[in-house]
Symmetry: C2
Subunit: 212 residues, 2 copies
């Protein structure tokens, strides 16, 4: 791709990336039209191909862009220092919300990108798929003190429940055309967390307060 893309005003860069993520996220590769991307980005098709020489390059750029964001979210220092399960969840929920505010279609793009056939796109993507994504969980849980959980509680379970609820909530908001406001989401999220904490933590740990 053309490095001059990075010299564009950040707002314009983002507009282009978001438009591309939207179209690739909502349609599969072959049916995702560069015309539509250009229109949604408010930019001529010519310009799109001036920065990204062809469709496949644009797609691959997005792929790495998204993978990068995900990687950065996890290999972040503050992240590594948190040992309390619920505290980590609260923290990463905030991070996730920030990312989603900036990249509204990143989830749709990621789902389509990582979980579909990719028949059309280059081979080197097939390496970075399900297996690596599953590793994310391992890394995510690596530094946690899970001894606070009751014997019969399953942290992975709790994790997934909260993720599903947050996704469902955000999905609901989107459907109703309302933007997801980070602080409102966090209030909800904290309620859910408090409930689950009560159910899954040993009594002596239930009343720990979260820092903020």
């Amino acid at each position: 791709m053309n490095d001059k893309f990075y010299e564009l005003p950040p707002e314009k860069q983002q507009r282009i990336l978001n438009a591309a993520m939207e179209v690739f996220g909502l349609n599969e590769y072959k049916r995702a039209s560069t015309d539509l991307i250009a229109v949604k980005a408010g930019v001529s098709k010519g310009l799109l191909f001036y920065y990204f020489y062809n469709k496949k390059e644009l797609y691959l750029f997005l792929f790495h862009y998204v993978a990068d964001i995900m990687r950065k979210q996890i290999v972040n220092q503050k992240f590594q220092k948190i040992t309390d399960f619920y505290e980590l969840l609260a923290y990463s929920a905030v991070e996730k919300a920030k990312i989603l505010e900036k990249n509204p279609y990143i989830l749709e793009f990621a789902v389509k990108a990582f979980y579909s056939d990719k028949e059309d796109v280059s081979e080197d993507l097939k390496k970075m798929t399900t297996d690596q994504i599953k590793n994310v969980y391992a890394e995510y849980f690596a530094h946690l003190d899970l001894s606070k959980f009751k014997e019969d509680a399953n942290p992975m379970y709790v994790y997934k429940m909260l993720v599903w609820m947050a996704d469902g909530y955000m999905h609901d908001m989107k459907m109703n055309g309302k933007p997801v406001e980070t602080d409102v989401l966090m209030k909800e999220f904290n309620t859910w967390m408090r409930m689950l904490k009560k159910l899954t933590y040993k009594e002596e740990y239930q009343d720990e307060n979260h820092r903020d």
Copy 2:
């Protein structure tokens, strides 16, 4: 449409409907190709147009088909007799799972159909949208005895949480290529329900058993 469609072997009917729901569910109307539908249904394009005279008719047929399924799920007698919140949820979860087993792409289709612009499709659909869907909630809660809830618990909230988790669970399964088995899903679902019941029901009601 051609009424002879109903005389086809039910398995073939379903194959065609599923293929169509998949393609319409995954692409927006204009970009949903009848070629693809025919291929996915294992049927020639000619036949598709023999039963449904054109694309719009096929789409409208699907729309009513789906709306019908949803309506039937709710206006079902057994449904009306259940007064316990959690019992109703358990029951309707089973129903939903059955429907999804038979119509794997019904959710995707419904979401796209009810929540997108419909610029391309006939006007008469715009009536039957968000408003009516919101009414579903009202009807859903109409016969319930909500006095079993603690003062500070919000039933709508609990409802949504469980729906989100079930959707998330099913989504996860689909991503990993595993079919959603009704009984496994129900075991999960019951666990979540028991947890939430403990948190939200007044103590004297917490230990009621569900019938099955």
